[in-house]
């Protein structure tokens, strides 16, 4: 299945500068809640994505990682903040203008089957994007892309999504995204509904695709090992805020934020006998995630944090730099 890709190792990309393809500033996403109140899904996060980089966004359910990813695509538009794609502002535009400005950014989702129209055939699904733009797509282009994502054009050509496996559907979603020649690919939990053997196929495919099509990627997931495997930098989120931005190779040993440490300590893979991980116990007692309707004042993790003191309740900790590229938002972390 993935044979076509495995036989052609992607060329090592030439040096790419520190150019920033995506700059996000003070992004806020809020939703009105049933019965009054506001869900604070994302509360003012800023980050950037450099050319050719993969930025992982890691967090548990309710941390705002998916809301953040969708707000980048303006699905729906954020409550406030700025999203610059190649120095072009996306926030505030709608309809055709937005589609044109956003064209270089594409997204794939967690459930690949439900993100495909069940009544359309593979050949049409792949060509759907450019056709919306009124562009002609040749059969050869479709074939080439199907091959690029490890699908055999002859056997899937006339099939519909329900006739494909979950892994094949995710390959198809990737092909659809690539058809529009994107520069940035946002992946929202792309492998969490797949079996481990298929998960490895898709992760390898994303890595190859990124090299071959010179993509920058935002990879949103809850699985630490998966995020570490694919990312250059990892942004850890908790209740709508950034806890820590950490280079992927530092994640296992040099995490500073108590929440990141709690995640590391909880990973079941640490139980595998060859996992040479020594994770310090964090000692988090309070199990429940506070409500995003009424998040704690100051540091949002303080209600579960063993290090919390008075200052944590009054002041939201700013992101401080520890070593180059490693930022942590904690009053008590030793940077």
């Amino acid at each position: 299945m993935s044979g076509t890709l495995a036989t052609q190792p992607p060329a090592v990309p030439e040096e790419r500068g520190d150019e920033r393809v995506l700059v996000v500033d003070d992004l806020v996403v809020e939703f009105p809640a049933k019965g009054g109140g506001t869900v604070h899904a994302v509360s003012g996060i800023s980050f950037e994505l450099r050319d050719g980089e993969t930025l992982g966004i890691l967090g548990e359910s309710g941390c705002g990682k998916s809301s953040a990813g969708r707000a980048l695509m303006q699905l729906p538009p954020p409550t406030s903040g700025s999203v610059l794609l190649n120095d072009v502002e996306l926030v505030g535009h709608t309809g055709r203008t937005l589609r044109r400005k956003r064209a270089k950014m594409q997204m794939i989702f967690q459930d690949p089957v439900s993100s495909l129209n069940p009544r359309r055939k593979v050949k049409d699904l792949v060509a759907e994007g450019p056709r919306i733009w009124g562009r002609k797509v040749t059969e050869d282009q479709i074939r080439e892309l199907l091959l690029a994502v490890g699908l055999d054009p002859e056997s899937v050509w006339d099939r519909r999504p329900h006739e494909l496996s979950g892994g094949q559907c995710q390959r198809l979603c990737i092909a659809r995204a690539l058809m529009l020649d994107p520069q940035v690919l946002i992946c929202d939990e792309p492998v969490s509904s797949l079996d481990v053997s298929v998960q490895a196929q898709i992760l390898n495919l994303l890595e190859d695709t990124k090299q071959r099509y010179r993509l920058s990627m935002i990879f949103i997931a809850h699985d630490l090992a998966v995020v570490k495997n694919i990312s250059d930098r990892i942004m850890v989120m908790y209740l709508g805020r950034i806890c820590e931005v950490i280079p992927a190779d530092r994640l296992a040993e040099h995490a500073l934020h108590p929440y990141t440490k709690l995640l590391l300590e909880s990973v079941p893979e640490a139980q595998l006998p060859d996992a040479e991980l020594e994770v310090e116990e964090v000692g988090v007692t309070n199990a429940e995630l506070p409500s995003p309707l009424d998040p704690p004042s100051g540091c949002r993790f303080r209600t579960r944090c063993p290090l919390a003191t008075e200052i944590c309740a009054t002041e939201a900790p700013p992101l401080r730099e520890s070593v180059s590229g490693h930022l942590v938002a904690c009053h008590h972390a030793e940077v």
Binding site: D195, V198, A200, D223, L224, N229, I230, V267, P268, A275
Partner: protein, 344 residues
């Protein structure tokens, strides 16, 4: 937590704490579908001692959940299903029991925890009703004692403020809390066997760990045996005494947990372990994916089920179905050409 004195009063008669509890012999579950007979479980045998934990791992479609449900007696031979082989639970053949006997077995002798705690609870009934129902039915408790015991149980599974929580509805609780309620229900009558089918798959990692710790603590206290079914090798690795790896309805390999993860002999177990991304490896390490997909179980391949995807497959693998054979004490694998031969 609750004091021992109150717990003793409702504890069923003391059971022996060692010896074989469950013996599964050549179990086959065939589900009749429009496309043909699906061989979901195709010849599985194992035994489980009292107080022991066996982990059953496999990918979707490997038959691990159907196996759990067949052991429980939720699948019985009928118009849609044919079951052969035997499930001996505590000296009784589960398949020979009638509906009434099965109902008395469920809850009191075998408890089950499913993946999705929301669908396991009745959305229009309060938490307390879920718990008192089983207590009144199986232990014959009156209304008030049953409610008291229900509060104790909620406390036991680590639900804060149980007296308030008992009058809440399932939707008022988080996923982790709901799964604790489901565990409390399964354990209300202190069953000898708990079947946990993907108990933490719907939960976040930090909550997952709490739930697994809770199961471990309750097991130590009550001495029940656990069948822990999961697709996640990490979940099983830390919690099970023994592990069985299932592929296409059959057990590919079984051994004690340490041996299986450190020295897998079946190519599928090895491949599965290598396909998982590891935290201690550097970023961008290429994962060893397993090409292809699991077989169609209506017409499984002749010979070894894994042969079409196996890097070591030879001619005999495609013609002769390998049986489980012992490598060392308690370590069995079904493979003609096992891996890691030199290292043992």
């Amino acid at each position: 937590m609750t004091s021992n004195a109150t717990r003793e009063s409702t504890r069923p008669a003391e059971r022996p704490r060692s010896g074989t509890l469950l013996a599964v012999e050549d179990l086959r579950t065939v589900i009749h579908t429009a496309r043909g007979d699906l061989k979901a479980v195709d010849g599985v045998s194992f035994t489980l001692d009292r107080g022991e934990t066996i982990g059953i791992v496999g990918e979707s479609g490997s038959g691990k959940s159907v196996l759990g449900r067949t052991i429980m007696g939720l699948h019985t031979t009928g118009p849609t299903t044919t079951i052969s082989g035997r499930v001996m639970f505590d000296g009784r053949d589960v398949q020979s029991l009638g509906p009434k006997d099965l109902r008395s077995l469920w809850g009191s002798q075998i408890g089950m925890v499913f993946q999705d705690p929301m669908t396991a609870l009745n959305p229009v009934k309060k938490i307390g009703v879920h718990l008192t129902e089983t207590l009144r039915k199986h232990q014959g408790l009156g209304r008030t004692p049953a409610r008291e015991r229900a509060v104790e149980l909620l406390d036991l599974v680590g639900i804060p403020d149980p007296r308030r929580r008992i009058d809440q509805f399932p939707h008022e609780m988080s996923g982790g809390m709901r799964q604790r309620v489901v565990i409390a229900m399964a354990l209300a009558n202190e069953p000898a066997l708990l079947i946990a089918d993907e108990p933490t798959t719907a939960l976040d990692v930090t909550v997952q760990r709490q739930i697994l710790d809770l199961l471990g603590n309750l097991q130590a206290e009550m001495g029940m045996a656990i069948i822990l079914i999961s697709h996640n090798l990490g979940v099983v690795a830390g919690r099970a005494d023994r592990v069985a790896v299932m592929y296409a309805g059959r057990v590919a390999e079984t051994a004690d947990a340490k041996t299986l993860f450190a020295d897998p002999r079946h190519p599928y177990s090895e491949a599965l372990l290598r396909a998982i991304p590891r935290l201690h490896e550097p970023p961008h390490v290429r994962l060893a994916a397993i090409d292809g997909a699991p077989p169609n179980m209506v017409q499984p391949p002749v010979g070894c089920r894994f042969a079409p995807r196996c890097a070591y497959a030879q001619e005999d693998c495609r013609t002769v179905l390998p049986e489980l054979e012992p490598a060392a004490t308690g370590h069995l694998f079904a493979c003609h050409h096992p891996v890691n031969r030199g290292e043992n």
